[in-house]
Amino acid sequence: MIIPHFTLNDFLPVMPVGVLMAAAIVLMLSEVFLTSTTRTYQAIIAALASIVAGGIAVNNAFEPARLVLQGYAVLDPFSSWTTAMVCLGTFLAVLLSAGFLKHRNAERGEFYALMLFAAAGMSLLSLSAEFITLFINLEVLSVATYALTAFLRRGPRPSEAGFKYFILGAFAAALLLYGAALIYGATGATKLVEVSAALPAAFAKSPALVYAGLGLVLAGFAFKVAAVPFHMWTPDVYEGAPTPVTALMSAGVKAAAFVAMVRTFLFLVKGIDPVIPFTVFSLLALLTMVGGNLLALPQRNVKRMLAYSSIAHAGYMLLGVAALFAPKLVEAGAKVGVLTATPLTGTAQDVSVAVYKGLLFYILGYTVTSLGAFGTISALERREDETRGNTWDLERFAGLAQRKPGWAAAMALFMLSLGGVPPTVGFLGKLFLFSAAVDAGLLGLAIVGVLSSVIGVYFYLRVVVYMFMRPAPIDAPAPFRHWTTELALVTSAVLVVGLGILPGTITEWFSRVGMVFGH
């Protein structure tokens, strides 16, 4: 028997997860042992835990990339930054939930515990380097979000959303697992490093098996990131879930799934004609960018519009993923050995660094913006509207600027950032990502991306028009106020503008060489 030897070093990447899990357990027990009437302390515990976990993750991001825990996980800046961004998203979502749940008299420790479990799953997903680990972490994340989706059981909508998400999510997870099983059948390994080493031989022997496995794994991931044509569930689930949960799903779940997808496929393309992964990811990016924006166009329901917009943003991120598999980068990698310890050199290295920077910065920008946008919506929702159908109708935003100028300004800022207007973080994210894609040789796709984001500006600005240029209806609801909601919105707004104007240090951190293990 081989006796594993672990040092404290091995546990460095899972430290943030440890903090999140410990806080989640404390919150669950607080629900059954403490019977105080106010429960704001639960939100504060959860928020503090995400700050601490995020801090540890930022600290980990400056460690050199390496395999840990016997090759089951990686410690690299890519996963550490993802963990940090997930923690930021969780922090904001928890603060939004505090006011949201209080207004509905539904504050429960379990809600925050589930959020922290989901965040732990996301962090672990981003650092998994083995198929079984990957699958289990995907389930940790998914089961927590299924439960959160149906947490408020008022009216038929939450149960519909929860059920739909559960059935389709379980199906997608099964696809991924089946794909992993086929790849295991072809290569005899589940650790990504070993799979990568065994793939060329396996591909020569039984190409159909490998293709089927890769296709199924891709379908599983595409479902989680809501890429067209695997996006059907997104609008219904995003609309039915409690709005802070929707915010967490659109930011955190997507980021973690993206990072896991990039990591897995960087290892899995070895031995395959490089044109194939490039074509597949380009096609997905094209469909998702155009499809998401076109589907969002006719929506009058702002929450549903944001759900489609999150699909469109996944499309822009997929553009970055396609750029990673661009022939230009892959050819350069073939010379020096992609997926070995040997790094890329020369311009290829610069381009690859730029793509990673663009991807990470885009994820960061989308996290703060979508948390802000969904947060403003959550504050405008009224508990009594839940059974009516018009909760998120555009009319609800009419005249908001006269009644609540601060809220309207914040919402306008988030909309402009989603549309990619300077000086917001959304603009810079698009700039970094599109210019990196152009450098990688994806000029055509980048043009499609810019054009489709012009479509997006129409429906984002429509919200702004309603807020500033339409008179308010007589029975217009005022946003409910809670200090945590306001803190979350102010934090997002400051980050949206701050990162849009002064991205300096962050971009420097995101553009270090050796961002991803083995690449």
Binding site: M1, I3, F6, I25, M28, L29, V32
Partner: protein, 119 residues
């Protein structure tokens, strides 16, 4: 092939024990003159069965089943650990304590929540 013979012998003994016991009770049993109707019923720990098995069960069973699985899976991990704990050393003991404590906290939560109360 040689190594399979003990298994064949074991199978033969195991099945003959069953036949022997059933056969012995067939020879030795007390024969009732007329069979009471309750004898034809399914044996349910002495309870009289009501209706058939194709009914909707109370969701209460589901919580009990979940808590059962918690400890069932725990055992599945504890057994291989117990076989190797000497070789694995102190690290494995700490690891298992963490694992068991987390599951115990889950059980405490279920207990305090009243999941195991049968009212």
């Amino acid at each position: 092939m040689q190594s399979w013979i003990p298994i064949l012998v074991y199978l033969a003994i195991a099945s003959s024990v069953g036949f022997l016991m059933l056969g012995a009770s067939r020879v030795l049993r007390v024969r009732a003159k007329d069979v009471p109707p309750t004898r034809e019923l399914t044996y349910e720990s002495g309870e009289e069965p009501v209706g058939n098995a194709w009914i909707r069960f109370h969701p209460r069973y589901y919580v009990v089943a979940l808590v059962f699985i918690l400890f069932d899976v725990e055992t599945a991990f504890l057994v291989p650990w117990a076989l190797n704990v000497r070789a694995l050393g102190r690290f494995a003991i700490v690891e298992m304590i963490v694992f068991v404590v987390i599951l115990l906290l889950g059980w405490v939560y279920a207990l305090r929540k009243g999941a195991l109360k049968w009212q």
